[in-house]
């Protein structure tokens, strides 16, 4: 039985791989480049959009996401061209969400209205911290004051705006974070992404950590407490957690990211972009493009297929569905799991987890209970235990 590909929605992710500077914690596929041929990138994106439009006729695009890297370094005309091409080659939903990730520097903020004109209706700002010493330590080029100004501009320019903070930083105590979050919650945003700092290997922080030179990171207990505090405070502020690190007022969730977590379909365009989509007659395909911007650009301009493709097995789809979906407070549908994975989740394990209070069952849905969201990894391990 084939899964109904309309279950999770359909969207387009576009990756812009350049930044002004590389942040020491960041393992996104991003590079610092002295000269970027914006026109070449524009043509490459357009070609790729054409290619996917040919492959996936009749799909209705619910969201476009410009991610990075730092997409706020893109020329607004490039953004415009992309949006227009999607609209010509695909059907688009009336309420299409078009998000652009932006760094909150003054230069970038000055382009916000042009992005708005180009069709962007949602912005996600990488604020990361609300004090200058910490921003410096995170390698950020903007100041806290600059970020606040960019936040105001964004709120005025776009229908919807969100910002990111990174917490559980070096030398940050639970009360430091509580104070910072309190401030963040006064700024009138109806969506926040609050990430605990992850030390990724292959980053500057990762190297320092390996050498034992990254001091002051909070203990596991402290970061668990910080998480609990975050969930509580956001709930009280009317933007409850809807995904592990995402908080929104009702109706203000990021539709694009929901498509990922609901295991919908998405096309990934740009270097290092991933895609997941199904054809009505085929099982789900996973795509992945080369990381190197130069290689990707060259191939895209030459009109060559460049992504590696893999047909996901039923088992793989089942696992991905769970690991994405259980991050959501809404939980996942057991029936859809069965449809994807070709088999039921073990009733014994489900019963065990339920009796331990780890999961809650509501009809066909399972939801990880509040106390166990932090232990999602362990929960997943038990769910997929043979």
């Amino acid at each position: 039985m084939l899964e109904n590909w309309q279950n999770g929605g359909f969207s387009i992710y576009l990756h812009w791989p350049f930044c002004e500077a590389k942040c020491p914690y960041c393992d996104f596929n991003s590079y610092v480049s002295a000269s970027i041929d914006q026109d070449a990138w524009k043509s490459a994106y357009l070609r790729e959009i054409d290619r996917y439009a040919d492959e996936l006729p009749g799909r209705v695009v619910q969201s476009i996401f410009f991610g990075g890297g730092t997409p706020s370094l893109m020329e607004p005309s490039t953004v415009q061209a992309v949006i227009d091409r999607v609209a010509t080659r695909f059907s688009v939903a009336n309420d299409i969400e078009i998000t652009l990730e932006a760094n909150p520097s003054s230069v970038e903020a000055s382009r916000f209205s042009d992005y708005r004109t180009a069709g962007v209706n949602r912005v996600s700002l990488g604020v990361q911290a609300l004090n200058d010493p910490d921003l410096k330590r995170l390698g950020r080029l903007h100041s806290a004051a600059e970020a606040v100004r960019a936040m105001e501009i964004a709120q005025n320019a776009f229908d919807r705006a969100s910002f990111d903070l990174i917490y559980a930083r070096q030398n940050q105590s639970v009360s430091d974070w509580t104070a910072e979050l309190k401030q963040a919650l006064t700024m009138g945003f109806s969506h926040l992404s609050l990430y605990q700092l992850t030390i990724e290997s292959g980053t500057a922080f990762g190297d320092r950590y390996k050498r034992g030179k990254l001091g002051g990171l909070p203990s596991e207990d402290d970061s668990a407490d910080m998480y609990d505090v975050t969930v509580e405070m956001c709930k009280a502020a009317g933007i409850p957690m809807y995904e592990v690190s995402n908080f929104a007022a009702p109706g203000e969730q990021s539709n694009h990211n929901l498509i990922y977590w609901r295991y919908g379909d998405y096309v990934g365009i740009g270097p290092g972009a991933h895609g997941r989509f199904s054809h009505p007659e085929r099982t789900r395909t996973a795509t992945e493009t080369p990381l190197s911007p130069a290689k990707w650009l060259q191939a895209a301009l030459a009109g060559r297929d460049q992504e590696t493709r893999q047909l996901l097995s039923a088992e793989e789809q089942g696992v991905e569905f769970l690991l994405m979906g259980l991050r959501l407070r809404e939980g996942v549908s057991l029936d859809r799991f069965t449809e994807l994975a070709g088999q039921d989740l073990s009733p014994n394990i489900l019963a065990e987890l339920e009796s331990e209070g780890v999961i809650i069952r509501r009809d066909d849905q399972i939801i990880v209970s509040d106390q166990y969201v932090k232990l999602l990894n362990a929960v997943l391990e038990r769910l997929i235990e043979d």
Binding site: D221, V244, S245, H274, G275, E316, L375, V379, I384
Partner: protein, 599 residues
Amino acid sequence: MTQLSHIRNFSIVAHIDHGKSTLADRLIQETQTVADRDMKAQLLDAMDIERERGITIKANTVRLDYTADNGEKYVLNLIDTPGHVDFAYEVSRSMRAVEGSLLVVDSTQGVEAQTLANVYQAIDADHEIVPVFNKIDLPASDVDRVAEQVEDVIGIDASGAIAVSAKTGQGIHEVLEAIVNVLPAPEGDPDGPFKAMLVDSWYDAYLGVVVLIRVIDGHLKKGERIKFMSNGAVYPVDRVGVFRPAMQNADILGPGEIGFLTASIKQVRDTRVGDTITHEKKGATVPLPGFNPSVPVVFCGLFPVDSAEFEDLRDAIEKLALNDASFSYEMETSAALGFGFRCGFLGLLHLEVIRDRIEREYNIELITTAPSVVYHVFMKDGSMTELHNPADMPDPSTIDHIEEPRIKATILVPDDFLGDVLKLCQDRRGIQLDLSYAGSRAMVVYDLPLNEVVFDFYDRLKSVTKGYASFDYQLEGYREDNLVKMSVLVNDEPVDALSMMVHRDRAEMRGRAMCEKLKDLIPRHMFKIPIQAAIGGKVIARETLSALRKDVTAKCYGGDATRKRKLLDKQKAGKKKMRQFGKVDIPQEAFISALKMDN
């Protein structure tokens, strides 16, 4: 065939790195046994490695032709024994096959523990001993001091010692002359019924089982039918020959000679070191004395990490056992580890060699339980059972007393570290037997329980002495002591693979160390986990592993699905390597690490 008077059979005894292999190379070269162009460093060692992989560490043999200064042609047979304590029985048999030894001592280092252990075996075998002081090309060489040590510590005359450099070749000629002039010729009756000692045997892919023999009386030719006196097995001889050091066929082997035979023998197991070989018809009637096959002294459980590989493990173990008579095994089931084998070894090195072979050659990942010694459990009804596995411990109320194996350990150590060594031995329930000095080094002799040594005594010794101590031991027999079985409970479930026999006085300490270790080794779970050590129903140590609080990844977007799925797969594979006790997963490293003691 050579006349008895023109044969000299000898071995070389030395502490590791004192230059045994290099000296052997020089002897081979000086006698032009191997053409110069084929000469490569450590000729015998090259074979050594091959054979090391072939389980037991085998004796190496080479036959040298030497024309002495007196103009006579001699045949010199060198048997190079490995000298590791695990193979003491095999070594002692090889020693019985020759009449003399070169005692090699590094003149920059002096006498070491292995020098002693090995030279005592040579003395036990009534060898004539020629001391050879090596490395005189080095500035730190002090031949007089070493001569004094050899006389004081070992108690043999060093006046005939030869100073050599195996590196430059200086003194090698003198060594060859001493072999001819000082070592005795073998004795034997050329006309008596054929009688030979089985010195060693191994499997050769082309020839089948190759048997190294020392002929005592009579002769052996190809085509003759031989009989192994221990089991009466009869075989027609396919070929006989000598080692130079490659195998070379010969027409006949006579008294005093050392060589090989092959005889379509299928399994090395059918050939027991020390056995007497004779002719099927008109053979000898009295076997050589001292045939006494070695028995395993250290036992442990071997379990496949992946329980689906149990049959593969059985297969591997059976195959290995065919070629190693001293290795024993029987099936074992553990609640913790599933199906596996309880295996017996000659010692820890033997254990490691076999375990490595199973892992490397048969590609089976193993969980190895704590090595245990064989206890003698005397029951109240007067019977005695051998306990190979703490899990099989009878009900304590039916036990009268328990005896454990003891060893005599000899340790040589620079003065500076003596205190640490004495403390270590004392901590391990040792009884000091002797303490003497050889120059700036102390020689301590301790009576120690073997079970305290099989854990990590050697590692600890190396670490407290920064590697400067040398250590050797021999088994001394059994003695009663206050021994109990300590069980370990994780989340209230007994973990049978971690139960162990301990001395009652050390139980609390060991229990505490074990619980603390496990607390570090067991990953945190979604719930808190009590870890306890107990004797019978009495808890003697306890730790609590707190619950895991957070493991969720902060970010997970479109590009992370693949990465996260692969990570989960890896975790799942990692979990396969863990063992489940109730709801707790214990990684396999825990079983090995938990049983090491740090202090």
